[in-house]
């Protein structure tokens, strides 16, 4: 069936200067079962003021890559075998542990999925937020506490002045995640990495947190790297989307184009397998098979065993990530047959 031409999409927003560049990153884990190749040549660029989503399912390497950027990978068993992580052109992977720790505290901050285990249960949240100011800014106890209250206000925790002396367990899941966001923003970082920040939350609370993140990002102009598996969450906030599969980028695009006309069969498969409130009665088309075993990656294109469009070439030759569409769109896809995928369809 010929698809109706999609309405013209707005030009992708002009990005600010490159902030964080990940280049050809390779991470593997040595296990008794063999070498698990979690990240296999990942590359992306986050610009100032931009929200970039790393979209992938479990085992896609999205969280491992984030930990590598943060310098939080346990080594061993993990090993970064190749690549660079540049912040303003400076390779973080070449820093000493002490230098990396300094960057991590002040210039790159992270929001984790599980706020309850990321917070210390025996210290008040005010103490934990204030600690950042005491350690990194040399503030006194009283000043640090005042800054903590300010930050809690800023992430819209009601009655912040009263709650600053409460312990993490006295907060609900959504409020704890706000505390995590407050801590991430405390030292005005240039980059915030949010790893599945709402996955543990209920849908009504998720909406509150995503709105908060988007508002704060606009206020501060921080670069936000959002790591998630949720196509809905991504659509609501991301400027650009990097789709990962088996530790590599399979597609990269601005958000509207990715959803309107996916260029990689995996992206297309994801979009067709999500039930949507706004499209009742549509039969889901699942992606067959399971995500790959990272200890035994398929040859050629890692997605080929699950791909309906796969041919012999896909098993032999790994497709490079190449530009698709008009140059101004700045999209790319890693598929030998991208042209067929895009030709076959606008909206799924």
């Amino acid at each position: 069936m010929p698809a109706a031409p999609p309405p013209p999409l707005p030009e992708p927003p002009r990005p600010g200067p490159p902030l964080l560049e990940v280049d050809d990153l390779h991470v593997e884990f040595r296990t008794p079962r063999g070498t698990v190749r979690a990240v296999n040549g990942l590359g992306y660029t986050l610009h100032a003021g931009q929200t970039l989503a790393l979209l992938g399912e479990s085992g896609s390497g999205k969280s491992v890559a984030a930990l590598a950027v943060m310098g939080l990978l346990p080594t061993p068993p993990a090993r970064i075998t190749r690549g660079a992580v540049r912040l303003h052109g400076r390779d973080l992977l070449r820093l000493s542990d002490a230098e990396h720790r300094k960057v991590r505290g002040t210039r790159i901050a992270m929001v984790f999925q599980d706020a309850l285990s990321a917070l210390n249960p025996v210290l008040t949240v005010g103490h934990q937020i204030g600690e950042l100011f005491r350690v990194h800014r040399g503030l006194g106890r009283r000043q640090a506490r005042a800054r903590a209250v300010e930050l809690m206000d800023r992430v819209r925790i009601p009655a912040a002045a009263r709650r600053v002396d409460d312990y993490p367990h006295q907060f609900s899941g959504g409020m704890r995640q706000r505390v995590m966001i407050a801590m991430a923003l405390a030292l005005d970082p240039e980059v915030v990495i949010a790893d599945e920040p709402t996955t543990a939350l209920d849908v009504t609370v998720q909406a509150q947190i995503m709105r908060l993140l988007a508002e704060l990002q606009q206020e501060t102009g921080t670069g936000l790297l959002l790591i998630t598996h949720d196509l809905g969450v991504v659509a609501s906030v991301a400027d650009r989307i990097t789709v990962m599969y088996a530790g590599r980028v399979v597609e990269e695009s601005d958000a509207p184009r990715l959803y309107a006309a996916p260029a990689h069969p995996y992206t297309r498969g994801l979009l067709e397998s999500v039930p949507r409130l706004d499209r009742p009665g549509r039969r889901l088309v699942p992606v067959p098979g399971s995500p790959p075993d990272l200890a035994h990656l398929p040859t050629g294109c890692a997605f080929h065993p699950r791909c309906a469009a796969a041919r012999a070439r896909c098993a032999d030759e790994r497709p490079a990530l190449l530009p698709v569409g008009a140059a101004a769109e700045e999209r790319s896809s890693a598929c030998h047959f991208t042209d067929e995928v895009t030709a076959r369809g606008g909206r799924p």
Binding site: S172, V203, T204, Q218, P286
Partner: protein, 357 residues
């Protein structure tokens, strides 16, 4: 309470209009207090607090709600894992909690459960074949031993697995395959009623659709009645004919899928639907009123309507009088709200912040 409960071994098909599952006034309270530092018997967590449900043959009822609403407690009572504090659960007209052991065993054959976590719900030391055959070993009267391997192969094929998988162990399978094994086990005794508690929420998106389609097909082919408990509103919409929305131990709205999703009357249902992010960036930007705050504690629910503390429409009456779940003037399905919202189809919108659309 049903009158003249039939013999559970009665082979006659039950009357067509009798629900497979009927839940009346069900409550499950967990007493709090006790312990060395507290006064005894100070109160109770009212996890489920007066729930009525009916499920008919071949029908799928979706029970949705956020964490803490009581949906999983309800599931464990329905499976007989816990006794209710009040109310009845009837399966084919027989009260589950009034039966003796032998009768209960017979009824249990008719209702089976599919659990959320395919990693922890399968015994890692048992082969897939033994796991699927286990219900047949527990109910040996169903099938003679020598015919069980063939039945296992048939069940594995039914859920889209290779019968050769029978010799493998759970850790050799992927998450999606494990959930298929869980479904095959649930179908081993030929149940009429399947209770599914978050059956796809632990699975990856690309695999989730496989299991959803499998459940939809099986339900159709086998004429199963399904109670589908989930927090994902889009998943429930995909699979369910009727919907019940739960909040703090109570059902606040129920109706057909078209009724509940098309014109939700309860402010909670509407807020819940509005909060679901739609995977379409072009819909971004419309400002949606989000719910404030969090779920109150079920140990100390608000007076009157339990939703009133978060409800943008709440008025004085809501604090004083608990609204009953009934069809109100101007509405076409039951809601527990004194002031149901006017019918409207909420446009698909996105909850993220934003500029004008």
């Amino acid at each position: 309470m049903s009158t003249g409960a039939p013999d559970p071994t009665d082979p006659n098909p039950p009357e067509p209009d009798r629900p497979v599952l009927r839940v009346r006034g069900l409550a499950k309270h967990y007493p709090t207090g006790g312990g060395p530092f507290r006064r005894r018997g100070t109160g109770a967590v009212r996890a489920v607090d007066g729930v009525d449900l009916e499920l008919h043959r071949g029908e799928t009822l979706g029970l949705v709600g956020e964490s803490g609403c009581g949906k999983s407690t309800l599931a464990s009572v329905l499976m007989g894992a816990e006794r209710p504090s009040a109310g009845t659960v009837e399966v084919d007209g027989q009260d589950l909690f009034a039966l003796d052991r032998r009768q209960l065993r017979a009824v249990r054959r008719r209702m089976q459960m599919v659990l959320q976590d395919p990693y922890s719900s399968l015994d890692p030391r048992m082969t897939i074949g033994r796991i699927v055959a286990e219900p047949l070993a527990i109910h040996p009267e169903v099938l003679p031993r020598e015919r069980r391997p063939a039945k296992v192969a048939e069940l594995l094929r039914l859920v889209g697995l290779d019968p050769a998988h029978a010799d493998r162990y759970p850790h050799q399978l992927s998450g999606g395959q494990r959930q298929r094994v869980g479904i095959a086990r649930a179908l081993a005794l030929g149940p009429e009623l399947l209770l599914c508690d978050e059956p796809v929420s632990a699975l990856d998106v690309s695999v989730q659709a496989q299991v959803l389609n499998l459940l939809a097909d099986l339900r159709e082919r086998l004429g199963l009645a399904c109670l589908f408990i989930a927090h994902d509103l889009a998943v429930v919409q995909y699979l369910c004919d009727r919907i019940a929305v739960m909040y703090l131990g109570r059902i606040v709205e129920t109706g057909t899928r078209e009724q509940v999703y098309g014109s939700p009357y309860h402010p909670y249902t509407r807020a819940l639907l509005a909060a679901v992010p739609v995977p379409d960036p072009t819909l971004r930007g419309a400002q949606v009123a989000l719910l404030e705050g969090d779920l109150p504690s079920p140990a100390d629910p608000p007076s009157g309507c339990r939703f009133r503390t978060r409800c943008p429409q709440a008025q004085q009456r809501c604090a004083q009088e608990e609204p009953a779940l009934t069809v109100r003037p101007g509405t076409d399905h039951p809601t527990a709200c004194h002031f149901p919202l006017p019918a409207q189809v909420p446009p698909p919108r996105d909850p993220a912040t934003g500029k004008a659309p």
